[in-house]
Symmetry: C2
Subunit: 399 residues, 2 copies
Amino acid sequence: MRALDEHRAAALALAAPLPAVEVGLADALGMVLAEDVRADEPLPRWDNSAMDGYAVRRADVLTVPAVLRVVADLPAGSPDEPALEPGTAARIMTGAPVPPGADAVVPIEVTDAGTTTVEIRVAPEPAAHIRRAGEDAIPGDLVLAAGALLGPAHVAALASTCRSSALVHRRPRIAVVSTGDELVPPGTDLRRGQLPDSNSWLLAAAVTEAGAVAVRLGPVSDDPAALLELLHSLDADPSVDGVVTSGGVSMGAFDVVKAALADSPGVEFLPVAVQPGKPQGLGRLPGGTPIWTLPGNPVSSFASFEMFVRPALGRMRGLAAVERPTVTALADEGWRTPPGRAQLMPVRFVGDARVVPATGRGSGSHLVARLALAEGLAVVPAEVDEVVVGASVHVLKVT
Amino acid sequence: MRALDEHRAAALALAAPLPAVEVGLADALGMVLAEDVRADEPLPRWDNSAMDGYAVRRADVLTVPAVLRVVADLPAGSPDEPALEPGTAARIMTGAPVPPGADAVVPIEVTDAGTTTVEIRVAPEPAAHIRRAGEDAIPGDLVLAAGALLGPAHVAALASTCRSSALVHRRPRIAVVSTGDELVPPGTDLRRGQLPDSNSWLLAAAVTEAGAVAVRLGPVSDDPAALLELLHSLDADPSVDGVVTSGGVSMGAFDVVKAALADSPGVEFLPVAVQPGKPQGLGRLPGGTPIWTLPGNPVSSFASFEMFVRPALGRMRGLAAVERPTVTALADEGWRTPPGRAQLMPVRFVGDARVVPATGRGSGSHLVARLALAEGLAVVPAEVDEVVVGASVHVLKVT
């Protein structure tokens, strides 16, 4: 059996950052920057007022009260550039460029707020309430580095450098295929033996949450020839960056994914020393499209996606850090773990940094309803055979 | 001046959970459930096999090896219900219902994998490898509670209970208006005094990130009559659940938002004891639409959104917990705070739970490029006048 970390590395190695595309600011949120963004101009562009008040020559108002003639009115956005002569002031609003000759701003609150003349009541400090051009950035300064995940403040920083678009990595578009003759769309009346397909919904949502675009296909039947045809058509579609399947990779007589890809040298199937999720497959379809074939039990699919697919999607997006945050927590209940295999136990938090198995009555990989309670996956190393009450465990946060 | 917490409460009080709508599973991710979801049927529906192997009558195989006649082949999805007579077995795949009469499953690995007869080599424990109907949930069990934020596992749980849709709170649709004659769309060549509009981009992205739908309008000019007309048209639009503005709420001579809403008794403008973000307004437009009027400096807008708008949007979405996670961190550099006002200092993490001001060279509320470095907002209480090196601060995580 392959070790968990080794398979994680193999799964991640299938991914590379996708090509860069230019997107407008409206589409930039959540994308990953593919270029360094530097300031072309000083930010702010001009010395400007930090207050609503009066731009003055400080020498005129060292002794207060002092009365100055108001020679200009400078709302924000004013293009006016009136030179201040001695004895004069300009009414100025926050953000307006400071006029030539002025070397301080006096807030309106310490004046008589006059419009033809103004009485200045408090002498300003040198350069008071002036924001200097270039205080935020000077030309050439790195404002955003390639690899930045664009949040609201990053989008604002792009706008502030006067950019209306940015070069970002394309979002991966991932086909999700669940397999199994027993699967029917949710909402269908079940006859004996049937099961509502939940995996294609689970994995499509997980792909979306990972910042990729999910193309949900399936459930598809246990017909290897039909599945192979579908996989080949996805492989031939240049808009598809990867394929994730669930089910059909085990030891059974009807394991459709294994059967369909038996003659595909680029895809390997092998047991991984992990529970749940032992039967795994991955590789490349003949045209080069990465494929991750996950086992079909819902908890196995969920945990396998977290371990093997999510980091790869992060790398495709261009993220430098592709791992979920982890925390160390104490087991508030004990549980058994399989000998010789790592364990991925869905857990929920009870109080501060204490966890219990989320699936409660059982730890079975079929407990899809209870899986919704999971806030994390406790990753228990293969060497550990039992998690005792009070033991420290590493928990990957999944919500 | 109103205390920070008091204004937070007033801002949140404008919001109520939006009406529930039915959405298909494809649209459920990220929505908040507006109903309790209970199991109608047992999950799993039938006793079924946890392994690929043979369903047997355990009494037949207490002494091994034992050879049984294979009377049925039960792939997953098979509707067949062959009664097992003594001395017979059914080949069975994972997930297939266990046939009547069988009381254990023997994994294929401990058999000769025969198809007409099968040799059983290890005697099974009672009920071995059978998943019981109802193990995951029995009819009436609460699977998902109202108020749950639907992640991938929740969508899968809905599917597993055979639902193709769910009742969720409608996403709030929020109009974002930035104001100021100085603002031009990013990408426009600037003449003296002009500034690229970054606030409408900042706030629209923040609205989106908060799980709402942003309708970005603006920048609009400093014309109170035109702004009032725009606000009235938004108020009259039943698809608009709230309005966020930036700028025009200060002490200046051209404060357009204050001027436009001067005669609107439902909206109050007042100073809040916080830095940045002292000038604030909020209330309801005449038609009842909530409005939050934020100050225009970008860092003020950002911090005000976090404090006053984001929690309200969470409540509209139906979330029970509307606060960002907070952590306690140590100040790795000291900084000054304003006397008598709480402070919201953008910070970044340096090493483990240590923070420094993100804006580096200055703490000015105009440093929009540097704001992109912020990973949190340190919330320093009004009583504290200086954060010394090594002091413990509460940090709201914003990334």
